[in-house]
Amino acid sequence: MNGKIVVENLTKTFKKGNVKAVKDVSFNVDDGEFFAFLGPNGAGKSTTVQILTTLINASSGKAEVAGHDVIREPEKVRRYIGVALQETGVDPDLTGREMLELQAYIFGFNKEDGKKRAQQLLEIVQLTEAAGRRIGNYSGGMRRRLDLALTLVNEPKILFLDEPTTGLDPSNRIAIWEELRRLNKENGTTIFLTTQYLEEADSLADRISIINDGEIVATGTPKELKAQIGNDLIALALKDQTQQDRAVQLLQQQMQDMDVIRKDEKILVYVEEGTKELLEVVRIFDQEQIGIEDIQLSSPTLDDIFLKITSEQKEEVKSHGE
């Protein structure tokens, strides 16, 4: 038993509607690593989590979690993992303490140890005061915290978290982040987290895989990915739309290291150092007498990253076709 995840050529096709949710996905997560799956809604993140946590079977491919095959040895896998799905899985009619104790008993704790473990976890997620109240009366943030505590009952080697902070307010989000960091650092727990937020993956993960439309499109440390994408983003709108072709051409010629992409009526330029390059762009356009309607400098969002990656994919297809 170890805290590794090994995934080879994993594919999941749902019979209903013949949807290919996960397409030939391969990746490894090392013991003690904090790994993030970053992607938009419907990218295949949750399906991957459901396969790795033994809830559903893959159509083909292989996956090993904590040293055990998820398809052939699901019972063994279940002992070593903790899972928080997108929807919190709690019984509103039990109290927080009862829910934790039940989870402990299921994992084989005896009465005394189960009670102790529940108390410990209530303290960690700061729910001791609400422990005797029914979960039905908890706020969304409290439920999430309890859900996290439930995943920790068996001291899992690997923690799977499917969008653990979606819908949470900033203070609850930060509390969860801190707890995840602590678990990863102090206990050496391997963490597999899915998220739609670049910021979240960036701030927490050692390594990120970007998944889009069932496929992994990029993998690397946050630093590597950013370097690939550019740290900053310049978004331009021209006064005269007819000049757009020429403007893009100019930028591509004169700023060769940068990625220039057209999006609707805007031109996006991915750059390393925003403030410096911004002046350069303005200088070029001024020289060529191209009027700028609006210009903005920002950090790239997840949307921008996808736009860039998918446009690169299209170009690849094009160049192969020629």
Binding site: L55, L85, T88, G89, D91, D93, Y105, I106
Partner: protein
Amino acid sequence: MGNNVWKDTWLMTVRNIKTTLRNPFSFIPNLIISAFFLLVYEGGLSGISQLPTFEGANYLAFILPVSIVSAAIGGAGGAGQSIVKDIENGFFSRLLLTPASRLAIVLGPIIAGMLQLLVQTLLIIGIAFLLGLKVETGFAGVLFVLLIAIGWGLAFAGYSAGVALRTGNAQAAQAGTFIFFPLIFLSTTFVPYELIEAQWLKIAATINPTTYIFESMRTALIDGWVFWDLMQGVIAIVVVCTITITFAAVSAKRAVSRG
């Protein structure tokens, strides 16, 4: 390396009893309706037992099985309700992610539902005794009636759990409980078979297995130990249980499988 089935079934059953008790409105209405049947029909219809077809039977003993079956079905339906609730609030998935025995996850609510049935049936029989019920076959007869109620409840629990596991949806499960009405009322509910006027109702009563449950219970309560009259209820239970429990098992297998 799966978990111990008995221990897990115990944990799941205790938890289901707890949550049922915390939601009194999940069982009080059914209990009131069942008691209401007994009181109102006894109060309003007991005069018809003067008719010769009743052969001098006490109407209270005649109508009691209706009330019992209503309570039994209501109690057993609790099994389906708690399963649907678990699926809807994600607790079912949470359990599937643990090493808990898959069988225990499904059995827990069914056992709790059966216990709910037992308590409700006992309460109804208790009320009937307060109203002056006399049982021809004595204490053993009451036990027999109770066993029939449990058997019939089990058949209904299988049905309700099956629908719950298949749909995972409260509305669908709720719609499934509407079978309650034809099951109870398209039968020899108020009068013996010979007194039913409409031909269609006679046909319905013949098809409806509840008729044989009523007859079996009435035999024990009113007529005495008439073997084949008692057995018809037992046979109905065996047949229907075989169907509904199979349905529940297939649905359960599908709900916990990873297809």
